[in-house]
């Protein structure tokens, strides 16, 4: 049993696709609540109560929706009050709230996505589509810190040779441009040397193989299949139209038909997966500790 983030990146990626996409494009308050609850509880389980403070700014989105949407949209049959000769309607307020909740939940899911899917994991996902592009990606990621160090070296060498004595802006800008010019030449030459060294070691001579530390265990496959199945059920029910709210001119709820309930349950189960795995892992860790 491993925690959610230690599963195969492709399984984790599949989860995020199905957790985020339906939430993002079906403006249904029930789905929004499920999505928000899932995203928030996972962050709390993963990062502790401190994460609450970090997530607080995201809750400005529902607030903004409530304020901004009625200012621009005057459709709806239930006017609450009149502002500048324009009615502020209940429908517009509620739509704004739901839309804001949707943006909020998307941002919260992405915040955990960004901390879990580190660059090496994304590289693994990309690499299964195109090995050459994955190689370019990983080289680029290596070059970024390398160039930072090289810029420092060039700068120090130039200071030692007596440049940058005067303390004025023009001198600094010219110095910056000079360093940049040096860097570009050096980066290109260095790249060519890298390329030649790669060819000399046989790159491109045969079929590409690649090294990865991520394997497929039963739990990884199970996670991917489960996420895909729950996600497809949700999407299909959504597609048949049993979840679509009508907001204007009057709110018409799709009601609790069987497909709608199925979709809610499937989506709730999907959103609960990472939190459950996280809590299980932690409970297991604690019980192992106490036995020692």
């Amino acid at each position: 049993m491993r925690s959610f983030k230690d599963h195969n990146p492709i399984s984790v990626f599949v989860f995020y696709i199905f957790a985020i996409v339906p939430a993002m494009f079906c403006i249904n308050p029930v789905l929004m609540c499920i999505s928000l609850a899932g995203g928030v509880s996972f962050r709390l389980a993963k990062d502790g109560l401190g994460a609450l403070k970090k997530m607080l700014p995201f809750f400005a989105f529902p607030l903004l929706g409530v304020i901004l949407n009625p200012l621009f949209v005057h459709k709806g049959v239930t006017p609450l009050f009149i502002l500048n000769n324009n009615p502020v309607t209940l429908e517009a307020v509620l739509f704004g709230l739901t839309l804001g909740a949707m943006i909020c939940s998307t941002v919260i899911w992405f915040s955990s996505f960004n901390s879990i899917m580190t660059t090496d994991k994304l590289l693994y996902v990309f690499g299964s589509v195109s090995p050459k592009i994955a190689l370019i990606l990983s080289m680029t990621l290596r070059y970024i810190p390398l160039y930072g160090q090289q810029i420092k070296k060039v700068r120090q060498a130039q200071i030692v040779t007596g440049l940058y004595k005067e303390d004025n802006a023009i001198d600094k800008i010219r110095g910056g441009l000079r360093i940049m010019s040096v860097m570009v030449s050096w980066a290109l030459e260095n790249g060519i040397i890298t390329a030649d060294s790669m060819s000399a070691r046989g790159y491109g001579a045969g079929r590409r193989s690649r090294f990865t530390i991520f394997g497929w265990r039963t739990a990884d496959v199970a996670l991917a299949v489960l996420c895909a199945a729950l996600g497809v059920v949700t999407s299909v029910c959504m597609g048949i139209g049993h979840l679509a709210f009508e907001w204007y001119p009057e709110i018409v709820s799709p009601g609790m038909s069987a497909p709608a309930v199925t979709a809610y349950i499937a989506y709730a189960l999907l959103c609960a997966i990472p939190t459950v795995l996280q809590i299980r892992e932690e409970a297991r860790w604690r019980s192992l500790q106490s036995e020692i």
Binding site: F25, I103, T106, V107, F110, I136, M139, L141, G191
Partner: protein, 232 residues
């Protein structure tokens, strides 16, 4: 690793994806889902287009040297975005993409543009807008590559293309802003989004012109030198 070994299957896929899959996604989106799914459909189309481009480039980039130069230019433009991130809307990415495209080739321009979007978003935040940025910068590079000859010859043409691509970038990203609002594409909303983004659009256009005029020649000379010296 997902690799399609069968040559025929690969060829079929290359035809199936653009002519069947993308229209299928559009039609399915319009007829089955009916409302509030525009953004979904667009994201799906953009991702399909990107997969298509990447799959075709995987064969086209021949030579280790060209591949490394793409990595070098991508790293430089990612660093450029980070360095200038303090000034809003003032970033050298587009100009570096254009310079790479006109000197190395359209495919390289596309790759540098789209990879810069992915990699620099590790720092600036990934989101559903990432495929759109990839597509916008990629296309700017691809078109610059096809216009390589006139852009290499005249600095004025280069500056004009830079200004144009700044505006185009903003317009592509605003389509996304409107779709994300969830009510489908409406011209009034799009006009409003364009109007509020006007300072940014101006910033993109101006910064592209400035960077292209400042960097265009020295960068070009260096790339050409490497090209002649090493025969990339």
């Amino acid at each position: 690793m997902v690799r399609i070994k069968n040559e025929n299957l690969r060829k079929t896929l290359r035809i199936v994806v653009p002519f069947v899959l993308i229209p299928a996604v559009v039609f399915a989106g319009v007829f089955v889902f009916k409302e509030n799914m525009y953004a979904w459909i667009t994201v799906a189309c953009v991702i399909l287009a990107l997969i298509l481009f990447y799959a075709s480039f995987d064969k086209k980039i021949v030579g280790t040297r060209r591949m490394v130069i793409i990595a070098v230019m991508t790293a430089l433009s990612v660093i450029g975005r980070a360095v200038f991130s303090v000034i809003p809307a003032f970033k050298p990415i587009t100009s570096i993409v254009i310079i790479t495209a006109i000197w190395i080739g359209p495919e390289s321009g596309f790759l540098v543009g789209s990879l810069t979007a992915v990699i620099s978003n590790f720092q600036f935040g990934q989101g559903p807008w990432t495929p759109f940025q990839m597509f916008a910068w990629g296309m700017i590079g691809l078109i610059a590559g096809y216009l390589g000859d006139p852009l290499r010859r005249s600095r004025i043409a280069l500056a004009v293309y830079g200004a144009f691509s700044g505006i185009a970038y903003s317009m592509i990203m605003d389509i996304w802003t409107v779709l994300w609002y969830g009510e489908g594409f409406k011209w009034e909303l799009y006009a409003a989004a364009l109007a509020t983004a006007l300072p940014y659009t101006m910033g993109y256009a101006v910064s592209n012109v400035v960077f292209l005029l400042v960097l265009g020649r020295p960068f070009g000379e260096k790339l050409q030198r490497v090209k002649i010296k090493y025969g990339v």
